[in-house]
Amino acid sequence: MTHLNRRGALGLMGAAAAAPMLATPALASTKLNVGALRFTSHAASFVAFERGYFSDEGLDVSFKFFQAAQPMAVAIASGDADYAVTAVSGGLISLAEKGAAKVIGGALSEEAGIDGQKILASDAAFKAGLTTPAALEGRSFAVTQAGSSFHYMGSKIAAKEGVSVSFKPLQKVGAIIGAMKSGQVDAWSIVPHIAKPLAGSGAVHIIGDVADYIPNYQVTTVFTSASNAANERGKTEAFLRAFSKGADDFNAALVDKTEGEDGAEAMVKLIHKYVYTDRPYDKAKPSIVNGAMRINKGAAMNAASIRDQLDWFKSEDLVKQSITFETLVDASYVETF
């Protein structure tokens, strides 16, 4: 059984038949495409690839790089990518509702004690008194698109502070940074490796932590097509195993820092092959180190956080009310908490 096509896999998919097959990494050279963004938060896949964890599982992985999470979700639905890591967005939920995508694991999490996403204020707004999220009343808050994770964060922050903000869709992170620097928008929230250099330049100010408003926020999730989740159990579990190994290495080296300087250095060098490739290593290093947030062990999933996100999308009428947690998530692969 060196070659396994989809029909063959389907035939063998009885629970009894599947078990022995999974025991051996006999999925020799199963080709699959992994969608990724060139962000530090996608490092687990890069590590699993570079350190051979994918090939150990018999997976012949090639990366497909995207500019934004949204097209990546569509690529999963169209079958152009098999697995990807991204934030829960309205688009992803809609694709799940259409039976095209399924969340199967958790990746990036906000965790107390680890530097997480920051709330930013533009210099102009900061000088006009926006020094704490409580002062957001009547301010504009930048988002890429309606229904993006930025929208979710902004909305949660505003709700907790009891203020109302207006959301400005600017499509791209680059456009948001430009608008923040020139004071066209007042506030934003973003991962630390983007937030810190911006704040360092004095163009924006950090006024709070997202973790204070959304504790244990499951920022990104692992997802795949619904048919992979339902019918390609072996392949999917193999992917998640390799991915988790990559995540463990990453956490150890850069989040828990148990590997020492050398381990961290090796990890940063590995990631630099994929992230900030246009910058010299010395300049890229701080950004990569700053961007290190915990990737859940064993790709465990914070179901409560995902439920909360889903409920928020429904309450904003961004997705259909009929969508349930089970439509979005296949919780059978990983631990949930």
Partner: protein
């Protein structure tokens, strides 16, 4: 007598030789009013059938009846006007600025050689720039609110209007201008009474193109910082992968395009009734 020859010739061709074969058919388009709508309705029905039976998956196309339901929902909730209002405002202000400046500059190019020499290369250089690419710049120049949106639509409608306007002025019958001079009309009278009315057909057909471009740019203009607007609605639907809303929004733009085209047609019929 002619009747007699006709009746004698018709049945009895063998007697007088072969009938001349008709070969003048085709190549003359005639108006078939009902074909267009019929084809459109058939297509819609086909898609409806396909999506209901599952031949067309719900990832590929939305069900037309669902799009209609989404539209009705938009209408009932009043959101339609909440989106359409700002968009129409942006289109009206932006296109008025762009078309107004375009006609003025175009006519000046048509009238003055120095202006022509100076501005035609500039206009040719601006024309092919995708105006969307300049949007971030416009945000810095004109602010993220309505200013940048007006500017984008204005610039987008400006260049085609300039080209149409100076082409139209160039095409004004020179013999009419010479006639004006022969009656000692003042320069201003010649421009107002001969050049401008003579250029009107060209300017109006340019207007059709400019306004269609304006509608296209509406979506681009609402990419940055628009909470409401048909373009923002379409972009949001796209990012949520909500095909029903996406198609409902696109339909609104199509209808807008048809209406704009029809009103230019009405203006043409009114202003250009002198045309043969």
């Amino acid at each position: 007598m002619s009747e007699a020859t006709a009746s004698r010739n018709a049945p009895d061709t063998a007697d007088t030789g072969k009938r001349v074969a008709f070969r003048g058919g085709g190549f003359a388009p005639t108006r078939k009013r009902w074909i267009g709508p019929l084809l459109f309705i058939l297509l819609i029905l086909l898609i409806e059938w396909g999506t209901r039976t599952g031949v067309i998956s719900n990832l590929t196309l939305p069900r037309p009846s669902d799009v209609l339901a989404t539209f009705v929902e938009l209408w009932d909730s009043g959101l339609l006007w909440k989106h359409l209002g700002p968009s129409l405002g942006r289109l009206a202000v932006g296109a008025t600025l762009g078309v107004g400046a375009g006609v003025a500059i175009g006519v000046l190019i048509g009238l003055f050689s120095y202006v022509r020499a100076g501005l035609t290369p500039l206009v040719a250089a601006i024309f092919p720039i995708p105006k969307i690419a300049l949007l971030p710049l416009f945000v810095i120049w004109f602010g993220i609110d309505e200013g940048s949106k007006y500017a984008l639509i204005a610039l987008g409608t400006f260049t085609p209007t300039v080209v149409a306007a100076y082409g139209a002025v160039d095409n004004v019958d020179r013999s009419l201008i010479r006639m004006g001079q022969s009656f000692n009309l003042s320069w201003f009278s010649i421009v107002r009474k001969i050049v401008l009315p003579g250029a009107m057909p060209g300017i109006l057909s340019g207007l059709r193109v400019s306004l269609a471009i304006g509608i296209i740019l509406l979506v681009a203009a609402e990419m940055l910082g628009a909470e409401y607007g048909v373009g923002a609605y379409i972009l949001e639907a796209g990012s949520l992968y909500d095909l029903e809303r996406l198609f409902a929004g696109v339909t609104i733009l199509s209808v807008l395009g048809v209406l704009v085209n029809a009103s230019v047609g009405a203006i043409e019929r009114r202003l250009l009734n002198w045309r043969v």
